[in-house]
C-alpha cells in the first residue's frame, strides 16, 4: 500500500513558475507522479512544460480533481498558499518552503487542522512512495520500492539513510520528511500510526535531531502502540547548547532537547538506535529476524 501518496495522488504545484517550482514540477512528472497543473498568481494561462498554470487554487480545482498540493512559494507568501489550499479542500498539503515565521506557522497549524486537511512540512523535502509517486525535492534515483517506512526531520540526512537502505537491498514503502521547523503540520507519532497500519511496511526508520521533545513523544508512542520494529537515529550529539544548527527547530534551549536525552528515551522504549547512518540496515535486518 504505502502511506499518504500513491498512484491515485493528483498533484497541484503552488509556485510552479519559480526556479524551484518549475524544476521540481517537471522532475516529479518525469518520475511518474500524476502532476496535473500549477498555480502562480498573475501567471494564469502560461505553461510549464506540458503543465497548465492557473491564477488560483480554486481555478485549478474547477478543472482538475486535485487531492494534493505541493508548495514551493517563498516564505513571505507561504502562509497564504497553505491557507488557500486548505480553503479549497485539498486533503494533503506538502510545504517545502523554508523560513516561515513560527507564529504564522502556529496559526497555520490550527487553520489547516480546522479545515480537515493534513499538512506535511514546512521546511521539508516532501515525501515519496518509490515507484508510485514523488511529491517533493528528493533525488528519485536513490529510492527503491520495498518494506521500510522512513520518517525524518531532515532532508539530506534522509537521503543518506535511504541510500544505505537501497545499497543493502532494503526498499522503502514511503519516505516522509516532516520538516526541520519548530512547528510542523504532521509529527512523528502521526506517521508512526500510519506505518503501523500500512500492510506494505514491515519496519520503520525514524531520523530525529536535537530540539523539542517530538522524539521523546515518539518513543512513548512506539512503546505503547507499535508492533512493527523501529530503528532510530538522532543527529546533533556534538551540537553546542543554545545554538541553532541550521534548522530553525534544531536548538538545545535551556538544557532541553539534547540528543542524549532522545537516544535514552528511544533505548528505554526498546527502540534500537544507530550511532551512524550506515548501521541502520544491519539493525533493521536484526529487528526483522526476531
Amino acid at each position: 500500500m504505502s502511506i499518504l501518496v500513491d498512484k491515485d495522488t493528483k498533484v497541484l504545484v503552488q509556485g510552479i513558475t519559480g526556479r524551484d517550482g518549475s524544476f521540481h514540477a517537471l522532475a516529479m512528472l518525469e518520475y511518474g507522479t500524476n502532476v496535473l497543473g500549477g498555480v502562480t498568481p498573475g501567471k494564469g494561462g502560461q505553461t510549464v512544460g506540458s503543465l497548465e498554470v492557473f491564477n488560483t487554487v480554486s481555478e485549478a480545482r474547477a478543472k482538475f480533481k486535485i487531492n494534493c498540493s505541493v508548495i514551493y512559494v517563498p516564505a513571505k507568501f507561504a502562509t497564504n498558499a497553505i491557507r488557500e489550499a486548505a480553503d479549497c479542500g485539498i486533503a494533503l498539503i506538502v510545504c517545502i518552503t523554508e523560513g516561515i515565521p513560527v507564529i504564522e506557522m502556529l496559526e497555520n497549524y490550527y487553520y489547516v487542522k480546522d479545515k480537515g486537511a493534513r499538512l506535511i512540512g514546512p521546511n521539508c523535502p516532501g515525501l515519496i512512495s518509490p515507484g508510485k509517486c514523488k511529491v517533493g525535492i528528493m533525488p528519485a534515483h536513490i529510492h527503491t520500492s520495498g518494506a521500510i517506512g522512513v520518517i525524518s526531520r531532515s532532508g539530506t540526512l534522509t537521503y543518506e539513510v535511504v541510500y544505505n537502505l537501497t545499497l543493502n537491498n532494503m526498499g522503502q514503502s514511503t519516505c516522509v520528511g516532516i520538516g526541520g521547523d519548530l512547528i510542523v503540520g504532521s509529527g512523528f507519532t502521526d506517521l508512526l500510526a500510519m506505518f503501523e497500519q500500512d500492510n506494505q511496511t514491515e519496519a520503520v526508520v525514524l531520523i530525529g535531531e536535537i530540539g523539542g521533545d517530538e522524539e521523546e513523544q515518539a518513543a512513548d508512542y512506539i512503546r505503547q502502540n507499535m508492533k512493527k520494529p523501529v530503528v532510530a537515529f538522532v543527529s546533533g550529539r556534538s551540537a553546542p547548547a543554545g545554538k541553532r544548527m541550521g534548522h530553525a527547530g534544531a536548538i538545545i534551549s535551556q538544557g532541553k532537547g539534547t540528543a542524549q536525552v532522545k537516544v535514552k528515551a528511544f533505548k528505554d522504549s526498546g527502540v534500537m538506535v544507530a550511532d551512524r547512518p550506515d548501521e541502520i540496515p544491519g539493525l533493521l535486518q536484526a529487528a526483522l529476524k526476531e
Binding site: 507564529i103 502556529l106 532532508g155 539530506t156 540526512l157 543518506e160 537515529f233 556534538s238 535551556q254
Partner: protein, 376 residues
C-alpha cells in the same frame, strides 16, 4: 535574535509597560548626572547578551556618588561569558516588596503560546521550575483565538494578592502578548516584575526579549537592533555569504549540505575520535561560489588541520560542488588536506572533474570521516 536588556526596556515602554526609571551609560563622563536624575541610589547592570550577570559581578548597587565611577569602571572592564561589557544600564534603586515572574513563550510540544506566571520571581525560571514547580502557573493560548480573559484572570488570582495588583498585571500580560505577536517574538520575559515601595506599584525591573529569525524580514526596526557580539566573526562572515554556520572548538573543518547531515557528520567525527571545528550547511542551492566562500571562512580558522567536505546532492548538483572546490583550489592557498565525499545528483560528473585534477573522492560517509580523522 537576542537584544540587550535596555533595548527590551525601550520596547516595553513603547507598549506602555511600566518599567523602573533607567538610563544607559557607555562613558563615565555623563554617569554622575544620569545617576542624579534617577535619585542618586542606582543599580548598575552590565549590558551583555548572557544570563546570570549578577553572579559574574555585572550587577551592583551604588548608594553614593563617590562609589559610582569606580564601580562603573569595574563593570565596564568585565568580560562575561567571553563577551566584553560595553555599556551599563543605570536603574533607579527601588525598595522591593514582592517579586513576580511573567513570561510568554512558545510550547513546541503542545503547539501553543504559553504564559508563565509565578510569585517566586527574581530567580531564573529554570530554577523555579526545578525547586518549586507548583509555583509556576501556565496559561496556554491558541494564537487563532488569542488569550482568554477569564482563564487568565483566574490564574492571576493564584499569583497576585490584591485586586489592584491583578488588574495591573492583567494589563501588563496583554501588552506582553501584543509585543509577542506584533514583533514575532519567541520569548518575552519580565523577571522580576516587582511590587515596589511606597505604593506597591508593579514595575518591570528587567526585560528580556528574543525574536524569531525567520520573521525579521517583517520587522526592519528589530533587525536594526541586531548586536554583532551575538555571533563569532566567522559566523558573521558566514551569514553575509548566506551560509548556515556555527563555530566549534575542534580542528576538523566541515562543509556539508543540509543541516541534519551536517550535524550527523560532526557526530561521526567525534565518534571516530576527532573534534569538529564548525557546523556548516552550504544549503540546497547549486552555487559554486558558496563552496568557495565556505572554504575561505573555514581556512580563516588557524586551528584547522583537515577539511572534510560531505555532500549528498539532491537539489545540490555534484558537478557544481566540484566546480566550487576546483575554483577554491586555484584562488585560495589551501595548506591542509581536503577529504571529499561526493554523491547524489550528477555524481559521476562531479567525481570525475575532481579525479582529473588529482583529488581523491570517497563514496561512503564513514569512510571519508575516518580518513579525515586519520590525518590528525
Amino acid at each position: 535574535m537576542n537584544i540587550y536588556e535596555y533595548q527590551a526596556m525601550s520596547l516595553f515602554s513603547q507598549y506602555g509597560i511600566d518599567t523602573v526609571p533607567w538610563e544607559l551609560v557607555d562613558t563615565l563622563e555623563t554617569i554622575s548626572a544620569k545617576a542624579k536624575s534617577l535619585g542618586g541610589r542606582v543599580m548598575l547592570k552590565a549590558q551583555v547578551l548572557a544570563g546570570s550577570r549578577g553572579k559574574s559581578g555585572g550587577v551592583k548597587l551604588v548608594s553614593c556618588e563617590k562609589d559610582l565611577k569606580s564601580t562603573a569602571e569595574e563593570i565596564l572592564s568585565l568580560t562575561i561569558k567571553s563577551l566584553p561589557v560595553k555599556s551599563i544600564l543605570l536603574a533607579q534603586a527601588v525598595k522591593i516588596k514582592e517579586e513576580y515572574y511573567l513570561g510568554l513563550t512558545l510550547d513546541r510540544g503542545l503547539k501553543k503560546i504559553v504564559f508563565m506566571l509565578s510569585s517566586s520571581g527574581g530567580v531564573e525560571i529554570e530554577e523555579i521550575a526545578q525547586k518549586t514547580p507548583q509555583k509556576i502557573h501556565k496559561v496556554y493560548i491558541n494564537p487563532l483565538k488569542g488569550p482568554d480573559e477569564s482563564v487568565l484572570k483566574n490564574t492571576l488570582l493564584k499569583v497576585f494578592k490584591t485586586d489592584s495588583a491583578r488588574d495591573e498585571a492583567y494589563g501588563t500580560l496583554l501588552k506582553m502578548y501584543r509585543i509577542f505577536i506584533e514583533k514575532d517574538c519567541t520569548l518575552v520575559e519580565i523577571n522580576p516584575y516587582a511590587a515596589v515601595e511606597p505604593d506597591n506599584r508593579l514595575l518591570a525591573l528587567d526585560a528580556k526579549i528574543n525574536f524569531d529569525d525567520n520573521a525579521l524580514f517583517k520587522h526592519p526596526e528589530i533587525e536594526s537592533l541586531r548586536n554583532p557580539e551575538e555571533y563569532s566573526p566567522d559566523e558573521i562572515r558566514a551569514r553575509k555569504a548566506n551560509l548556515s554556520f556555527v563555530s566549534m572548538n575542534g580542528n576538523v573543518g566541515c562543509i556539508v549540505n543540509g543541516a541534519g547531515l551536517a550535524m550527523a557528520t560532526m557526530d561521526i567525527i567525534k565518534l571516530f575520535g576527532g573534534e569538529p571545528a564548525n557546523f556548516l550547511d552550504v544549503g540546497g542551492s547549486s552555487n559554486p561560489e558558496k563552496v568557495l566562500n565556505a572554504l575561505e571562512i573555514i581556512l580563516a580558522n588557524k586551528k584547522i588541520k583537515v577539511i572534510l567536505i560531505n555532500i549528498f546532492g539532491g537539489i545540490t548538483r555534484c558537478d557544481d560542488i566540484a566546480k566550487g572546490i576546483l575554483m577554491a583550489k586555484e584562488k585560495l592557498n589551501i595548506q591542509v588536506p581536503l577529504v571529499i565525499r561526493l554523491v547524489g545528483t550528477n555524481e559521476e560528473k562531479g567525481q570525475s572533474m575532481l579525479r582529473e585534477k588529482g583529488l581523491a573522492v570517497a563514496e561512503k560517509m564513514s569512510e571519508a570521516v575516518k580518513k579525515a580523522v586519520e590525518v590528525l
